[in-house]
Symmetry: C2
Subunit: 231 residues, 2 copies
């Protein structure tokens, strides 16, 4: 019955095909049966490599995390943090499914651990104590997650003319008496639903808060890099 030869499938091939489908058809339209059909295989064949759909999601997520570049070595820690956060955002924009994959499943997998290791390492070297480093890591990660998820969502909405029209009219129908500020700032709000500037604004707020905290606690805890030429 034209049975496909034996070892044509592999976890990696399935992951790559799944990713392709998510990006061409849209994350919501993704289905196991679609992947199987694309591979010319019955739906159940995938269950040899993944226990269920969520398992495949995890694998796709980790595969994508593997695309993140390493932390730049020769830079001040705030710039290293910026680099990590920005490259995560860019990856999410490039692969919109990643936003949903990150938000709907816990982190696991080697590539994901590698990314966490990078950011945590930066924070520890910068002199943050273990608890503050962990807190900061989670804060930065969740900020990137929220900001970029929102950005992607709004961009998708803008691409659908029907939905976008409904959104605009519902915005414009708001009474200027009841919602004066929203109405007044409508253009600014539309402009700040995404983009590099918006993302960097929030990121720099966080970094400003971090450096401020650090200064107030004094330089005593900063390890290692003491510049002796400054007396």
């Amino acid at each position: 019955m034209a049975r496909t030869p034996r070892n044509t499938l592999s976890a990696d091939l399935i992951v790559r095909t799944a990713l392709e489908l998510m990006e061409s058809k849209g994350t919501d339209a993704f289905s196991l049966r679609g992947v199987a059909a694309e591979l010319g295989v019955g739906p159940m064949a995938l269950y040899t490599y993944f226990r269920n759909k969520d398992d495949l999601y995890d694998a796709v997520r980790d595969h994508l995390m593997g695309l993140l570049p390493a932390v730049p070595a020769d830079a001040a820690w705030p710039d290293q943090v910026r680099a990590v956060c920005r490259s995560l955002r860019l990856l999410m924009l490039q692969h919109p499914c990643l936003a949903q994959l990150l938000a709907s499943r816990p982190l696991s997998g080697h590539e994901t651990a590698r990314v966490a290791e990078g950011l945590l390492g930066v924070l520890r070297s910068a002199g943050f104590d273990p608890e503050t480093a962990a807190r900061t890591h989670t804060t930065l990660f969740t900020y990137v997650l929220g900001a970029t998820t929102w950005e992607i969502q709004m961009a998708a909405e803008r691409r659908d003319p029907e939905a976008w029209r409904r959104l605009r009219t519902s915005m414009e129908s708001l009474s200027a008496r009841d919602f004066p500020t929203v109405v007044e700032l409508a253009p600014e709000l539309a402009r700040t639903t995404g983009g590099n500037d918006q993302f960097n604004y929030g990121l720099d707020l966080l970094l400003a808060g971090l450096t401020k905290n650090k200064e107030e606690e004094g330089y005593s805890e900063v390890p290692g890099e003491v510049f002796e030429e400054e007396i």
Copy 2:
């Protein structure tokens, strides 16, 4: 045929039933057919009140946003901002479906507008110019969204013993050679996946950044409330 009498249904009744089901059965297990069955009605009856499932989602979201308290009037602006963000987080924790509803659809509806009006009003009165107010609003909103979504997700994972066990073992199986910082900070990371302290830490970072920016730009732009008794 035991046809249900005519005006027993209403948009509001459907929304409340949908919300109940989302919270008892879980957001993912929610279905139009489920809510119809709960109301003792055919699935298609709902389409009289909502154009489709997403439309119902929007209505549920706006219903939940209506539960948010007003901004406290007599407080300094940073505390007002804190109050808004914290009450949004608490509402999301109380109704976990809200996280997904906020992340997967654009904002619309009167109650949602009311909340935006509150926060934007605080920022404008505090002296932020329109663009900065809008940027700050989006930043705060997306931070709350990301941080709380993550918190909810991790809490759900913790509740599922099987998933939690797998997560722990995959964490512990990480090589301390390849991921020294992750392994070292594993307990801290586990502790910072949620909770008031973690949320407030990030929120205060943002506020610290905001006040720092404000101080550097000088007091010149602060409108209105000039205290004349201070010469």
